[in-house]
C-alpha cells in the first residue's frame, strides 16, 4: 500500500489518510506540479520526536551588569535576560513566543534562514503559542 498521495488523492481520501496517521503510519502528499511534498504525522509521533530532541540551553552570568542570560543552542533567537536564572527563563519563554509569531508573519524570509531542526522547534512553539507552560516544557525550562 502506497502512503504517498497526490494532491487530488489526498483531497478525496482525507479520512483514510487521517485513519492511517492515527494508526501510526506516515503519509505523504506530493504536488506533482510544484514538486513540493508534505508529510503528516500523528501527535503521538510528534510528541515522541519532540521529547528526544537534544535541547540544550546555555546560562551565562555577566558579573559587571549582574544579569543572567539564557539562550537555546539550537535556536539562539530564543533567549531571555533577568536578575535571576528563573526570571531569565521566564523571559526566554516570552521571547520564544514573540520570535515565533514574527517568524510566522515572515515565513517567506525566515524559512530560508533556519534549518530543519530549528524550524521544527519554532513550529512546536507555534503549535502551543497560547500555552507558556508547554513552551517551557518544549524548551526544557520547566
Amino acid at each position: 500500500m502506497n502512503q504517498l498521495y497526490s494532491v487530488g488523492e489526498a483531497r478525496n481520501r482525507i479520512r483514510e489518510i487521517q485513519a492511517n496517521v492515527r494508526e501510526g503510519l506516515l503519509s505523504g502528499m506530493v504536488n506533482h506540479a510544484t514538486n513540493e511534498s508534505t508529510i503528516m504525522i500523528s501527535p503521538l509521533m510528534f510528541e515522541g520526536i519532540l521529547a528526544t530532541l537534544p535541547v540544550v540551553n546555555v546560562t551565562e552570568y555577566d558579573e559587571e551588569m549582574k544579569i543572567y542570560t539564557i539562550y537555546n543552542e539550537t535556536v539562539p533567537h530564543f533567549f531571555g535576560e533577568g536578575q535571576t536564572p528563573e526570571e531569565a527563563a521566564r523571559n526566554m519563554v516570552k521571547e520564544a513566543i514573540e520570535f515565533s509569531r514574527e517568524y510566522m508573519e515572515n515565513t517567506g524570509t525566515f524559512s530560508r534562514l533556519f534549518n530543519g531542526i530549528q524550524q521544527f522547534m519554532i513550529g512546536a512553539v507555534l503549535l502551543n503559542i497560547d500555552d507558556e507552560k508547554k513552551i517551557a516544557e518544549i524548551l526544557r525550562l520547566a
Partner: protein, 79 residues
Amino acid sequence: MLDSVTQGEFRRFLLKYHFLPKGRRKTLFVGFIDGRPRTVSFHYHKDRKYIPKGTLNAMAKQLGIEKDRHVDMVKDGSR
C-alpha cells in the same frame, strides 16, 4: 570593559552591514555577512547601554560568528 559592546555600537555594526529590520517589533534584523544571509534579534533602548555578555554570545550564535570575531567585527563596524 574592553570586550563589551554597547547597544549603539551594535546598531552601527548592523547599519554598516546593511541589515534591515523585519517584522512587527522591528527587532529582528536580516542581512548578509561573508555572502551568507543572517538574522539577529536586537532590542535597542539606549546608545551607551552595554549588552550583557551572555546576550552578546547569543547574538554571535544567531549570526553564526565565533564570539571573539563577533566582538572584533562589531567594534570595527561601529567606528
